[in-house]
């Protein structure tokens, strides 16, 4: 299996609902990303980009088609097996930061580790280190409600990093942030991608955000409309 097969989706279809209310979110999409790649997925609302992201991130299963992550076939896994894949290999960053409000920042960050059975001490060290990586070392004992939006998103990134993921799935990570904070988050992501060889797949409808990716897929009506290479993107607009 080559590096180009690190994240691989083949002819993936996703149907929602049934009969007349049936909605075809994905219509036979194929996608592949190499380890360490930074891919952005763009498209209008409802185009299916989030669905694709969920399937790639082991959050959802396709109706049809095959998905591989680092050589593991995902489309045949059950819910609990997917959960284990997620907590070990996949980090998530969402538009709304999705921290558990009753846990401190550090508890939030170490939660996936603890759920996976990592020892308290190790989980603690790794989460502190991850928080330091995103510049939140001074906020570890705060509750999410005590943080600003940018800080919360950085905490979410730290949670994604703490597990030392193979893949980070980012769904509109800047959607709820002002441009300065958004920029900072994107830089963090790019930096992680570059320094740790983490594969990042990011859905966004912002061209500025997409500019951080090496490759951009345009999705429309559940199909890939076109694909732009890094060279195209880096050229001045």
């Amino acid at each position: 299996m080559s590096d180009s097969d690190f994240l691989h989706a083949e002819n993936v279809t996703k149907l929602y609902g049934a009969d007349t209310a049936r909605h075809e979110a994905l219509r036979g999409i194929s996608f592949a990303a190499e380890r360490g790649e930074f891919v952005a997925i763009r498209g209008p609302s409802g185009c299916g980009k989030s669905t694709l992201l969920h399937i790639l991130g082991a959050m959802d299963s396709p109706t049809d088609g095959n998905v591989w992550l680092n050589g593991r076939r995902l489309d045949t896994l059950g819910l609990d097996e997917l959960a284990i894949v997620r907590r070990r290999y996949v980090g998530f960053i969402f538009q709304s930061f999705n921290l558990l409000p009753t846990l401190t920042v550090q508890e939030n960050v170490s939660l996936p580790l603890l759920l996976d059975g990592v020892a308290d001490r190790e989980a603690s060290e790794r989460s502190i280190s991850a928080l330091a990586d995103v510049g939140l070392q001074s906020r570890t004992q705060h509750l999410p409600s005590e943080l600003s939006g940018g800080e919360m998103q950085r905490a979410a990134i730290a949670r994604a990093l703490a597990i030392d993921p193979d893949l980070v799935i980012a769904d509109e990570p800047t959607g709820s942030l002002d441009s300065a904070n958004g920029l900072r988050v994107l830089e963090l992501l790019a930096n992680l991608n570059a320094t740790r060889n983490i594969t990042v797949v990011m859905a966004t409808h912002s061209a500025d955000a997409a500019a951080f990716a090496k490759r951009v897929l345009h999705v429309k009506d559940g199909q890939i409309e076109k694909e732009e290479g890094a060279d195209v993107l880096s050229s001045p607009v």
Binding site: D60, L114, L115, L143
Partner: protein
Amino acid sequence: MSFPRLFNQFVLRALLREKTRTTIAALGVGLGVAVMIAIRLANVSVTETFRAAVDSVGGNTSLRIRGAAGRFDEQLFAALDPIRSYGHLSPVIEAYAMVGDGDFRSDTIDGFPRGELLHVLGVDVLLDFPLRDYEVLRVGATEKQSAREALRLLDGSRSIILTEKFLRRHELRVGDEVPLTFGSLTQAFTIRGVLLDRGPAQTLDGNFALMDIAAAQLASNRLGFLDHVDVLLRPEFSTEDILADIQLALPKGLVAELPDATSGRADTMIAAFQFNLSALSAVALIVGLFLIYNAVAMSVAARRAEIGMLQAVGAGRRMVLSLFLTEAVFMAVVGIAVGLPAGRLLGSAAVTATAQTVETFYIAAIAESSASSLHLTLTDILAVVCIVVPLALMAALVPAWEAATVQPVDAVRGSGKRLSPRALARAAMAGLLSLGLGWLLTFGKPIGGVPILGFLAEIALMLGGALLTPLALRLVCAGVRSVSHHLLPARRTEIRLAASNMEGELPRLSVSVAALGISLSMMVAIAVMVGSFRETVVYWLDSALSADLSIKPVMQTSAVSEARLSRRTFDVVANDTDVVDTIWFGARQLPYQNRNIRLATTELEKTLERARLIFKAPPIEKITDDSVVVSESFSLLFDSPAGTSIELPTSKGSSSFQIAGVYYDYASNQGTILMDAAVFRQHYGEKDPLLTAQTLAVYLRPEADIEQVRSRILGQLGPDEQIYCVTSREVRAEALKIFESTFAVTYALQFIAILVAGMGVASTLITLIYKRQKDIGLLSLIGATGKQVRRVIVIEAVLLGGVSQLVGIFIGILLAMVLIFVINVQSFGWTIQFLLPVQFIIQSTLLVLIASGLFGLYPAIRAAGVDALQTVREEHA
């Protein structure tokens, strides 16, 4: 948008969609209503049945003349002539008999049988008709009236008229004979007529018999005595105006009173019964209120998410508020509809269960007859509506207000608010103050014989417990979190998550836990009290039952009935070769101040010799002509310690007696005055029937075989003498059996409390899960397996139940102490040794934890089923 349309779209449809939550909430309200109504019905019904029995037998009587010392010499009737100018007089014998043909004795080996009780009214049938509503008396099938047949009631001493209901139930006809046992003697009585189901015939569900006064005197062994004389005043006289005049005109030794006074005094007979029910009802009310509050509050809280939508479609705050309040009312109404019929059934069950526990089977008979006639009145329904609907509104108001004022940004950020340490401290402080207040209240004296301050103390303690709940919850959560890796290392993450979740919902959970804790505290309190009482009585029984055999008439003496052993029984026993000694004992009711007490007489010297009494206050040195010993309850009820003197009504008017000692007596809570037979004779006359033994304590030669003696005595007496002849061991066993059945009520209580705790936990969690769907989804998203999610919720359930039980035990023990040391002493005059039923507490705690865990399973399964993507998906909606 119009209100009905919105209501339909956002409330009704939502309720339909969330069938489980709706069902649980409605059932919660329903259960609360059911429990409330059940106890109310039971209480009201028993009281009413009892009063109806007294009233319908009383008939049109405007006032009643009785002896100052109760029953009086019939010769005094002739001295009532001056009263005749005021109205019509009718002398009355009121007695009770046991119905049965048989051999009650076959049961006596393994306990005391419960026969069917018949309330027998003996009147001068020539005089009594204006007084009582014997609406229709039939003595012949074809003729409407027949003088010849009716006169047969006067003919012979064993004629009786029974009610239509009774005859049908027993498939008897006029002319048949029915065996009745007054005292220990079973005799056949001939049925001479039928009373239709009206007036006094309705007493005790038809277990009423009419006899001529002469026959009644003979049957009940009251020759020469009257129980009372009923007076029907001429219409021109008003009872209130004339009472004093009549009082003056009465010969010495007789008093006149309103017929109510009798039932008032008699009410004390059902006090013990009602006490049990009241305890239940207090639990029921609080539990019911909690269930309703919780159900509605949680249901509304769960709908916060929909508020945004409502506001988006342009609904103002007021609209939102009224929508949710209407939803609350809607749920309350559904709950009431479910709860009312359920309460009716539960009420019957409660009465029947509690009936087992009472002293006399007269009350049991009343309770049973009332259990079959429980009915919901409009008042009951109105009362429930008036309690439940406002309560539901109140419960809905807070979450609905929150909902109406919710800001979108709050929803995005999540609440995550913890109760501030300051608020926590303030609540805890108030709680401690409340406990202190409760403690102070225990020093209060009873008001009008009712331990009102004691009950207030109980309320203060409960309030204190409730206020301390947030702190307890917080401490337990923190504690559990910090020791989780020691506790269950493999589950520490789930435990921590559960504890954090709970801390995050501290204000709301505090309400639930406090309410659960208080309902559990009732269970603990009653268990502690009953357990303590049981141990105390066992100790007393062991000392007081020194005789080898006890002999009693099968129709036992109780607060309402008197039964005596026949002379023959006495002789047979005394003459048995193995019998070395006997001590006889008799007791009857004596009106004293505003209640009835027990006047008992025995061979006091022998009693003391045999150490049959355990004294509380200075053992007596010498019994003089004017000294008596009194039971502890008398001493406490009338504030008469040893050494003081009391004025007792006697057949001569009244006499003063010295209290020589106070002894423990758990056989009756009425208050007993025990007099030596010689003293009794002197003050109440030689002829008083009380000087005939009611029970006989029998002492045997040490080498005698008890079983042999017993069968010899029974054999000699033959089948017409119906007596119990029981060993001390059997009496003890019987007493314990009564306690066991009291415990049955405790178990019922425990069951209800645990059921309620479980349901409370479930409904609380289900609601929290709705509220926390996003969080749960997130948990799953970052890799928690379904099993892990389920565990978190079950742990939360167990924690909820556990803290509730913790509060329950703490408050329960305090409540029990007040019950035992204050309320019980003030209302019953009993000293009970405080004893902690450790086993019960451990057992009930385990049960609560298990029940909470089990009830937590359903919300847990629902939580695990929450779509992990729900949270992220709706962002793009």
